[in-house]
């Protein structure tokens, strides 16, 4: 922990500032081992909106511009797998649990700084998939959170209009999850590829 503090003074500084300003915020730093060195702040979902509000309105960084919201899926096997290595490490804490994650990339237009990255994680991947919506704070998240709800199935509480964005309303699954299985109801064309050819042939046999 001491070493990491020396490596990432800026992100740790921000985390400390949030912890000082918001009661029981419990913000920790998530370390990014890649050469990009974009480390992120891991927020508690229950305190996330308070922290975000502080970051936008009162903090010295004035993060007024939310650029990107991304969903991630961390199923059990992606976390426990030793090789290839873990892309995101949490400083100090216990290892990551299987979860869905929302990552927000924040910038400040007034001070031209960024990106400052915050991330939130759901409790699990099946029934406790609620996260607080940050749309009331940055409207930029409106369509992007809808997209994550659509493709990952994170339920953003407090979102003004949480509907599917890209898939049709009757669609049931969440296609960007890593364990998503494609439905096998296409009309396969007889392409030369092994498995598609096999599928198309079995389909033709079935229909004839």
């Amino acid at each position: 922990m001491e070493n990491e503090k020396a490596i990432l003074p800026e992100v740790q500084q921000i985390a400390d500032a949030i912890n000082a300003a918001v009661k029981n915020a419990g913000v920790t730093v998530s370390i990014n081992p890649s050469p990009a060195e974009q480390h992120s702040l891991l927020l508690f979902p229950t305190k996330a909106r308070e922290c975000a509000q502080w970051l936008k309105a009162e903090s010295p960084w004035q993060l007024d511009y939310l650029s990107n919201v991304s969903g991630n899926d961390w199923p059990e096997d992606a976390i426990t797998k030793q090789t290839p290595k873990q892309p995101v490490k949490d400083a100090g804490e216990e290892p990551m649990h299987p979860c869905l994650e929302a990552v927000y990339h924040l910038y400040s237009i007034r001070q031209s700084l960024g990106p400052i990255i915050i991330r939130m994680r759901t409790e699990n991947r099946s029934d406790k998939v609620e996260l607080p919506s940050l749309t009331p704070i940055w409207r930029s998240a409106e369509l992007q959170e809808r997209e994550i709800f659509d493709l990952y199935g994170i339920h953003f509480e407090g979102h003004p209009d949480l509907r599917r964005l890209l898939m049709w309303d009757e669609f049931e699954d969440h296609p960007m999850r890593r364990d998503y299985v494609e439905p096998d109801d296409y009309d396969y064309e007889p392409t030369p590829h092994g498995d598609v050819l096999k599928k198309s042939l079995t389909q033709q046999e079935g229909t004839v």
Binding site: N32, S34, S67, P87, W138, S140, R164
Partner: protein, 393 residues
Amino acid sequence: MTPSPGRPTEAMPQFEMHATGVEGATEGTERMEVSMGPHHPSTHGVFRMDVELEGETITKLKPVFGYLHRNHEKIAESTSYLGSMPYTDRLDYFNSMTNNWAYALSVEKLAGIEVPERAEYIRVITAELTRLQNHVSLIGFLVQDMGALGTPLMYAFRERERILDLFESLSGARMMCNYMRFGGCRCDVSADWIKQAQSVVEAFPQFLDEFEALISENEVLMARSQHVGILKPELAIDAGVAGPVLRATGVNYDLRKVDGYGIYDRFQFRVPLGDHGDVYDRYMIRVLEMRESVKILQQALAEIPNGDYVNPKAKLRGFRPPPGEAYGRIEAPKGELGFYLISDGSPKPYRYRVRPPSLINLTILEDMCLGQTIADAVIILGSIDIVLGEVDR
């Protein structure tokens, strides 16, 4: 869509709308729901708006997405890093060069690859040429939406063609260039190509003068576009609006200046800003930006150094970035285009996310259209400059 009382629920063609509106207009106006699109010529693709009208005035507008959705991000997760490059061409198919650059930039951040100087120059040149052809065709489409059928659009496409010819002789394809690689570009530019590009760039300001004489002072255009679709800067920042739409509100935020990615800090250019945030400002911003792009191009074409066009250490096959994540963004012609990548050390990205400027700029479509007439919604949408390949991905 909830049916309004006494009205059929399905979409009605526009010409009927006026007829019924007049018929029923005994006292005041009538509430009506119209579904514009997905096959409406002015929606620039398969995009639909559920519009609620009071007479001709818009009281509610909900954009509907997804007709062109192909889950680009999922496809990228199942192919190699290099294999996603040609797919990025098909995001915003007007600007394949900048899409390539944004993706290459993010991967270079993720893997810590350096880009040789000549490659940076080539990237700036191709990106600015892309900006020229995007803006020129956009203003052609925009005035077409306002009723200037044909003529300005054809003039715009005539100029765009010259730039596409340059792209074709450089990369082999006019629109699906697939030109950038991690750590540089796919092939070198010849001295001959630079000469050709110079002559195109030198002739461009003259065309802009002509185009402005043709349309900028046109009274119909001014009447249709001034004080229409006004966007306030506070809302624009809050809603993550980027690019020319943001700068038309007067917010000085151009990533070429702010981030200075690539080698943009070496060139002298100015960032044009609007002050009303209406459709006319968005039109003018694009004309002015093209003039600045010409300046950048003149400098870059004159100064381009010799050297490698690609980092010789960068691998083409079997490329595995170290584990970690990176977010890279550039100022694409339509706004801030970003790529968020997570690598787990394998040859395929664990997560690949596109920050589509066209989609996020549509967040404020309803806010801009409320209180305007239905005919204005068409030009407000046109002035945002969307491409459905990027909106729906």
